[in-house]
């Protein structure tokens, strides 16, 4: 590794986003903004029933409508299957949720396609449906798939390796419970299905062409953060005879969700395969919210043993994950969630058994937090009961139990990893100090302040993920004769500034002006493999590939320059397009001369490393009005340690993102409301699905420490994903403390607050009645 001074030319400096002018002038072209000749518009006919067999489907009238070029139903659609297990069809004879796809139409305009879809006559045999995750497990419950007895998905994601993590089993739970000073048995759910709701709905354009020599080629223009992964997903669906090219431009937000766009993408592909014209499918906001993937529901029913000093002696019980009609990734989310629980809570004795169940609601997919947020939001309220009984301060508990060097955890591949990251204790102290925790924490179920009916309370949550080094990234860096560098990386800008950071990293290694570095589009025909910015892997994994590619290019450049300068490679240094001999800077040569009629290509590859975790702690102060139930977020302090800040503006954006995208607000007001009799989503629009406006922004302070991560070139690690994850359980804690009653149902809406307050009043009254002093 090249040793580098601790001062950087670009790393850690605010550098304006390269796409800035395009974004602020309307010139950033998202998928729906691209121009195509001969474009057709695809529309989806959706099921009004949550569970039904399509007895008859007649598309004759739709097909005869002027301007209609294709109508596809389960009878004539390619039999492409997806999911884990691979049993989910693009269109099936059976529909499994209200809003499930029934037929596809391609027309010369969106209006014509829409009109045609309404002319398709469908005769349904309506079947009994099941929406509740526990109900779906009962004998005799409506069964969604012949392949899934009991509606239970098989555990384990083969993508994660031969022995994927499917549960947390370690030590001896019985023994652990005997060692406990207090045991609590509790249930808690993070099952309100908050929607990540990126502003831009899922969409894609596809073009299917004959590529000659019996091959077919399909090009798709996607809106998601990982074009190369999308190519792999699509190739696995279409089979090897089809050449798949994926182009990813700007993406109007994803928060994990849009990588599960295989269905809208395949709708466009199937229609293009039929028509041999480019086809665009754009989901309406209603389709986005009601018929696209959602966050899995999480319900925990466990026993926890704890000692007076905060040592957790045992955690055992069941974790039920409701995945809706289907999923590709829920098993992987369970694996990562289990590992993240072990990172956050040191415990020798575990026996947590997950079960993934299908119901007749919209399918599940990836959402920021990826299993860990789902599990931990349910786990921490139960741990809190134990802490309360033993009068343990939750900050002390988190500090004691979050993973430290020398400890370890099981990770998603089922293997044990010894943790070799940094100790986050200092950051936790700093966060608590900035928040003023010591002054505000009055004990469990005790408000920080009471003024009339208004009561304030504080809470804290933590999250860490060993995904910062997950999966593989590759990049090339090309040096050109004009003194410029080109980064080849399959990135699509989805809001984190990742493309900017890739350019910055290359410029830092090569010591050339930022303006001299370009980056390719996220186009799988051009770039090497890139898993994509999932979790928080952007800094540690993605940038490492870019850094290594730049370093290799630099080395090759020196190998060419050394004979010209009559020196050894190790004696050379470079900056601003000039190479010189370190001992004699007068001996120098310009890149242009070295690279006359020549290019250099460096290749960088990042191999997965699961031995490191990031960490984020969120402190919140809530105000609750005991008379009206109104609940408000007064203040947020996030504390984290990122090793080294790469991009201060981007980091601030990620940290402030803790509110929406199904973060803190998923504990206050965000939820998906499903009609329990029809399975129809009642708030599938942006007026009834509540979101925080700029009028209601609490002060956020972000405490960012920079304790070097020794194994990264710039000593940095990302925290992008986890900023939403620590907050929700902190909100429950703060609201409970404010009111003086346990609130453990997400979100803490005014009706729940009022109910809890009244129950408490009744209880007090009753106690007074029966036990007069």
């Amino acid at each position: 590794m090249n040793t580098m001074a601790q001062t950087y030319r670009y790393i850690g400096k605010a550098t304006p986003r390269r796409d800035g002018v395009r974004v602020v002038t309307g010139g950033a072209l998202f998928v729906d903004d691209l121009d195509f000749d001969n474009l057709l518009y695809g529309k989806v006919l959706r099921s009004p029933h949550p569970h039904a067999i399509i007895k008859k489907i007649d598309s004759g009238r739709a097909q005869r409508l002027d301007g209609i070029k294709a109508v596809l139903t389960w009878k004539n659609i390619p039999d492409w299957k997806f999911g884990n297990p691979r049993i989910f069809r693009l269109l099936d004879r059976k529909v499994r949720y209200t809003g499930d796809a029934v037929a596809l139409v391609a027309g010369e305009s969106a209006e014509i396609a829409d009109e045609a879809s309404r002319l398709i006559e469908v005769d349904y045999e309506v079947l009994p449906a099941v929406f509740d995750d526990y109900e779906a497990l009962r004998p005799g419950a409506p069964r969604l798939y012949d392949e899934l007895p009991g509606n239970v998905l098989p555990p384990g994601d083969p993508f994660l390796g031969p022995t994927p993590l499917t549960q947390i089993v370690a030590g001896d739970v019985e023994k652990g419970l005997l060692e406990a000073d207090f045991i609590v048995e509790g249930k808690c759910g993070y099952d309100n299905i908050p929607n990540p709701m990126p502003i831009e709905s899922p969409r894609a354009v596809a073009l299917w062409e004959e590529a000659g020599a019996g091959r077919d080629r399909v090009t798709v223009w996607v809106s998601n953060q990982a074009p190369y992964l999308m190519k792999l997903i699509l190739s696995s669906i279409f089979g090897g005879r089809v050449e798949v090219r994926v182009i990813g431009g700007p993406c109007g937000g994803s928060f994990g969700s849009k990588i599960m766009s295989w269905r809208p993408i395949c709708f466009a592909v199937a229609l293009s395969k039929t028509t041999r014209r480019p086809v665009k499918v754009v989901y309406s906001k209603e389709e986005h919210l009601a018929a696209f993937v959602l966050r899995p529901a999480s319900r925990l029913d466990i026993k926890v043993g704890m000692k007076r000093d905060g040592t957790v002696t045992a955690i055992a019980g069941d974790w039920l994950i409701g995945t809706g009609s289907h999923s590709q990734t829920t098993q992987a989310q369970v694996a990562v969630g289990c590992g993240e629980a072990m990172i956050a809570v040191r415990c020798k004795n575990w026996n947590v058994k997950p079960t993934i169940v299908c119901t007749n609601r919209a399918p599940s997919g990836i959402v920021r937090g990826f299993g860990g947020q789902e599990l931990k939001c349910a786990l921490f309220p139960i741990l809190s009961r134990c802490m309360a009984e033993l009068e343990i301060d939750p900050v002390d508990f988190i500090k004691k139990n979050f993973v430290k060097p020398g400890e370890g955890y099981l990770w998603r591949d089922g293997r044990w990893y010894d943790y070799r990251g940094i100790d986050f204790s200092q950051m936790m102290d700093k966060g608590a100090e900035v928040f003023g925790w010591k002054g505000k924490w009055k004990g469990w179920l005790k408000p920080t302040a009471v003024e009339g009916s208004k009561r304030t309370g504080v809470g804290v949550g933590v999250h860490g993920n060993a995904d910062i080094g997950e999966d593989v990234s590759e990049a090339y860096v090309r040096l050109d004769g004009d003194g410029r560098a080109l980064v080849y990386s399959c990135l699509a800008e989805h809001g984190t500034g990742q493309k900017n950071n890739a350019v910055k990293a290359a410029a830092e290694v090569l010591q050339i002006p930022l303006e001299s570095v370009s980056i390719t589009p996220g186009d799988t025909m051009i770039t090497p493999f890139e898993f994509g910015p999932f979790g928080s892997r952007g800094t540690y994994a993605i940038l490492t590939a870019v850094i290594k590619a730049a370093e290799e290019a630099r080395k090759k450049l020196f190998e060419l320059a050394a004979p010209l300068l009559g020196s050894d490679v190790s004696d050379l240094d470079t900056a601003d397009g000039v190479i010189w001999v370190k001992a004699n800077p007068e001996k120098r040569i310009r890149w242009q001369r070295v690279l006359f009629q020549r290019t250099i290509l460096g290749h960088g590859r990042f191999e997965p490393d699961y031995s490191l975790s990031n960490c984020l702690m969120t402190f919140v102060e809530m105000e609750v009005d005991a008379d009206t139930g109104k609940i408000g977020l007064l203040r947020v302090v996030n504390a984290t340690d990122v090793g080294r800040i790469i991009d201060p503006q981007g980091l601030r954006g990620q940290l402030n993102g803790c509110l929406g995208t199904a973060g803190i607000d998923s504990a206050i007001f965000e939820e998906t409301i499903v009609d329990p009799s029809t399975g129809r989503m009642l708030n599938a629009n942006m007026i009834d699905y509540k979101w925080r406006t700029s009028c209601d922004l609490p002060p956020i302070e972000n405490v960012v420490l920079e304790t070097p991560f020794p194994t990264h070139r710039f000593h940095a690690a990302g925290v992008g994903e986890i900023t939403t994850s620590a907050g929700p359980s902190a909100v429950l804690m703060a609201a409970s403390n404010a009111v003086g009653v346990w609130l453990d149902s997400y979100p803490v809406t005014p009706d729940k607050v009022l109910k809890a307050v009244r129950n408490q009043e009744l209880r007090i009254k009753k106690n007074e009645d029966i036990s007069p002093l």
Binding site: V23, G253, K285, R652
Partner: protein, 177 residues
């Protein structure tokens, strides 16, 4: 106007037209059902994007809730998905494409301030938010933080860049004082 009326008028050689001034350019568009014509059912956002090719006008909820499609209509910020184009005859419309100085190429101060303060992440909501900010500053050159928050409250930003947006607009506000 019904489809039949338009058809009969067409047959009589008469074409109903609509006048719009968009980004200081005068457009005369036919009302009708053909390509490039304004269907009476077309929203202003559709006409701006699909008929005039102004793709900086973003559409997200298409129901007036998210503000992504905000444009200036006679100087006021409006969600263009909630207006029918045929209602906008004779109106002056400014979209994000119309803010930059056409001659010098320089950005509008609001655009520049959004870059300087790093106001966007994914950037999809940005054009709409800039238009709301522009309307505010045109009407009130020195808004308070509260007034800025209020003016931007109709602009959904899921990445949460509102904190930086308030700073960006506020920086211009103090300049105006």
């Amino acid at each position: 106007m019904t489809e039949e009326t338009i058809e009969s008028q067409r047959a009589a050689g008469y074409n109903e037209k609509i006048d719009l001034v968009v980004n200081a350019r005068h457009y005369v568009l036919n009302i009708g059902y053909g390509p490039g014509e304004v269907d009476p059912a077309h929203t202003l956002s559709f006409t701006l994007r699909d008929t005039l090719g102004l793709k900086g006008v973003k559409v997200s909820c298409d129901r007036g809730a998210c503000g992504a499609c905000t444009v200036l209509l006679d100087g006021k910020a409006v969600p263009s998905c909630m207006l029918l184009t045929i209602e906008c005859g004779g109106k002056e419309i400014t979209t994000i494409e119309g803010l930059r100085d056409e001659k010098t190429g320089s950005l509008d101060p609001v655009q520049q301030s959004f870059i300087d303060h790093g106001v966007f992440q994914c950037g999809f909501c940005t054009p709409g938010m800039i238009m709301s900010a522009k309307a505010l500053l045109d009407e009130n050159p020195s808004p308070t933080h509260e007034e800025i928050r209020e003016a931007l409250s109709g602009n959904f930003c899921r990445c949460i860049s509102h904190y930086q947006a308030v700073e960006a607009v506020s920086a211009l506000s103090s300049r105006g004082r």
